[in-house]
């Protein structure tokens, strides 16, 4: 089946087969990353613009690395340097970038739905690098890629997402990816950050850590933002950690071969014990490495590449 999408906007709109295509393409690129010469010529002569209107060093670096390994030219716009701080609209900024002959835009934006808006406006591909609390598709793809490496088929696997679910685009994209791949997903955390509305997305909602973690294959932790405390979502970081932080005792409730994930950056000692983050069960650094292969796959496919044609190194 050929890849037909020009844009990667959400996981929600992808069919299971499309997710499989991206993962298979990412696996091919990962094999390339293991070689001495890691660069492939797939996007040679093309310019990828990273339009990051909300700061995110990690995701931007990962996309830059991915584009460079595909031999693309990369230009990155940061929120603080960009003209949007001078009041230019997203529409004008994006149309200018297109007029500069960019071949693709990777957009990070604080407003949900803005990649969709941009995709309707432009004729070049738009890849969503995180839109508000909506979706972060490449993060979910690298997460399920990592889970499959460790666990194989995800059907019937029990995945727990723990933390600030309400404001998390990572949680939403993972929920869609995991349910499409047949996993059994529970979202856990304080009721203020894990509202029951999430049931409509096909997941279990829990506010009790022990039963949620029991026999889980994966626990994915989300970063706790201190500003949620000010807004009254929880009383204090200390209370959060005492109720929902992952420590050794609680990690013992998981399946013996369960893995611990985190999209980063980690608050050591808040959502996870520092030791646990560095333990053999943690796959946090593998996630980062896989992120490059997955983003290579996404850029490659949206630029018109086909899964079966992943190119040989230069």
């Amino acid at each position: 089946m050929p890849w037909t999408r020009q844009h990667l906007l959400t996981i929600e709109e992808l069919a299971r087969a499309e997710i499989e295509q991206i993962l298979a393409t990412a696996a091919a690129f990962k094999a390339v990353l293991g070689r001495k010469v890691k660069k492939v010529p797939a996007l040679r002569g093309k310019t990828v613009v990273n339009l990051f209107l909300e700061p995110s060093t990690r995701t931007r670096l990962s996309f830059e690395m991915a584009a460079k390994l595909l031999s693309a030219d990369v230009i990155s716009f940061d929120a603080d340097r960009s003209s949007t701080t001078k009041g230019e609209s997203l529409r004008d900024t994006a149309q200018n970038i297109q007029a500069l002959n960019a071949d693709m835009i990777v957009l990070r934006h604080s407003a949900g739905g803005s990649p969709l808006y941009l995709s309707k406006l432009l004729h070049i591909p738009v890849v969503n690098a995180g839109d508000g609390a909506h979706e972060h598709p490449t993060q979910a793809l690298l997460d399920v890629f990592t889970m499959r490496e460790k666990l194989g088929d995800l059907r019937g696997r029990k995945v727990v997402i723990l933390g600030d679910i309400l404001f998390s685009r990572v949680a939403r994209s993972n929920i869609h990816a995991l349910t499409k791949l047949g996993a059994d997903v529970t979202v856990v955390g304080p009721a203020t950050l894990v509202p029951l509305w999430f049931r409509a997305l096909g997941v279990r909602v829990s506010h009790e850590l022990r039963s949620a973690l029991a026999d889980a294959d994966v626990v994915m932790l989300l970063r706790i933002q201190h500003e949620r405390q000010a807004a009254g979502h929880f009383p204090s970081v200390g209370e959060y950690t005492s109720m929902f932080g992952l420590n050794k005792t609680r990690a013992a409730w998981l399946k013996p071969d369960a893995i611990i994930m985190h999209p980063g950056p980690i608050n050591r000692g808040v959502e996870i014990d520092s030791e646990l983050a560095d333990s053999g069960r943690s796959v946090i650094l593998q996630q980062v490495t896989n992120g490059i292969a997955v983003r290579m796959a996404c850029l490659y496919l949206c630029a018109g590449g086909q899964p079966e044609h992943v190119l040989a190194p230069v």
Partner: protein, 428 residues
């Protein structure tokens, strides 16, 4: 002035309980029971075959943006949109620039209203600058001609200030119209809080924020006896609060918008800002409750909350687009569709909600075809199918969720004070 003889139509006038074939006569700007022989000879005959003839529609909630935001709408263009939609009387909200918290601003509005195609009544602000801190000069505003007081778009958060406002305004017999929203519950909110906002990752506006203020207003009305009107009720719980308050005889009224009758938050899946307004579209259960509230009288009337914005303002990220949609040109067709065709309301009931009952909320001299009434008349074809092109409409703005949609029911002629102001797609 040429007398008018509107013949062969189906005359529906809830104020006089007329519903049937008949003629409507107009002389010297008012409705008359019959024309004299001399008047008959001079009269212009209007053939209303196949049309409903009803009082001109009344909208107690429009934003005409003048003074200060005339790039969005003017009193003239807004009045043209009103006439094209069959409305002959509209009430303007005071969130202009400057806000209408001063009699001088009301005079500006009244001056512009003289050239309008329909009757335009101003409202004044409840508080200075709509800042919710200090009462505006209600007495002077009344003298300048306001028909009600409101900080629409903003809701007075202090219960004490609201209590004083309704007590003070009651002296001048001025109703208070409140946009019911507890701001502490809706910080940064852009749509209804629920499963759809959860899916879209947009910040939710819980209906509880409306319900709390509706309850507060009912309590303050019961306590002071003052008339408080709830603008654009959007939640099922608020409808139930209104039902109980009315049963208890509390002096409160409420309106519903055509968009809350017709649409739900499910429409927001494409992040289209033309579905963004405040209060937001809510759930199917809320929509059903509003329809039921209009049926059983918990809600008094329909008001459009016609809120024009330019394409530049609306065409952007959903989070950053302003709230509001236009509504005057589509209201009748939408109400006919949702209430008459889908929910089997009697046509006369829907006309009542758009005429007599809307006028009654603010005691405006409108909404009746009784002899002696202002000759404000709407002729519409309830079966006419048409496609609404908002860009070719009469409003200066085109931010409508019904743009490009096929609608059924179209205004054919609008008469204000015995003068034909709109006919067959043209402002006269």
């Amino acid at each position: 002035m040429t007398p008018l003889w509107i013949e062969n139509g189906r005359v529906i006038d809830p104020a006089t309980k007329r519903d049937g074939p008949g003629d409507v006569f107009v002389a010297d700007g008012v409705i008359v029971a019959r024309l004299t022989g001399a008047q008959k000879k001079r009269a212009k005959k209007i053939d209303a075959r196949g049309l409903v003839v009803c009082p001109g529609l009344v909208d107690i909630h429009v934003h005409f943006r003048e003074p200060g935001q005339t790039h969005k709408e003017t009193i003239l263009t807004g009045s043209h949109a009103a006439a094209a939609g069959g409305f002959t009387t509209v009430v303007c909200m005071p969130n202009t620039s400057p806000v209408a918290d001063h009699p001088g601003t009301i005079e500006l509005i009244n001056a512009a209203a003289k050239n309008a195609a329909v009757r335009v009544y101003p409202t004044g602000c409840i508080t200075v600058g709509m800042k919710g801190a200090q009462l505006a000069p209600h007495g002077s505003l009344k003298k300048a001609g306001v028909v009600a007081l409101t900080d629409d778009g903003l809701c007075i958060q202090s219960n004490e200030l609201m209590r004083r406002a309704v007590e003070y305004a009651k002296m001048f017999d001025l109703p208070i119209l409140d946009h019911c929203q507890d701001d502490s519950l809706t910080k940064d909110a852009v749509m209804n809080e629920g499963t759809v906002s959860t899916r879209l990752g947009l910040k939710g506006w819980p209906h509880a924020a409306e319900d709390i203020i509706v309850a507060r207003n009912i309590i303050l009305s019961a306590y002071t006896g003052a008339h408080i009107h709830m603008q654009h009720v959007s939640s099922a719980y608020s409808v139930e609060l209104m039902r109980r308050a009315k049963k208890d005889g509390v002096n409160v009224t409420a309106e519903a918008t055509p968009h809350h009758l017709a649409l739900t938050d499910e429409s927001l899946g494409t992040y289209d800002p033309n579905f963004k307004m405040n209060p937001p579209l809510r759930t199917e259960a809320d929509r059903r409750a509003i329809i039921a509230g209009l049926r059983n009288g918990s809600l008094d009337c329909i008001g459009t909350d016609h809120a024009p914005h330019t394409p530049t303002e609306k065409d952007r990220e959903f989070d950053y687009a302003p709230n509001g949609i236009t509504g005057l040109e589509t209201a009748l067709a939408v109400c006919l569709d949702v209430l008459v065709r889908q929910n089997k309301f009697k046509l006369s009931r829907v006309i009542d909600l758009l005429t007599r009952r809307a006028a009654a909320v603010l005691r405006l001299p409108a909404g009746s075809l009784a002899p002696g009434a202002n000759a404000d008349v709407c002729l519409f074809d309830p079966e006419a199918k048409w496609t609404y092109d908002a860009k070719k409409g009469f409003s200066k703005s085109s931010n409508s969720p019904w743009h490009g949609q096929q609608l059924t029911g179209r205004v054919q002629t609008t008469i204000v004070g015995g003068r034909i102001v709109y006919r067959a797609g043209r402002i006269l």
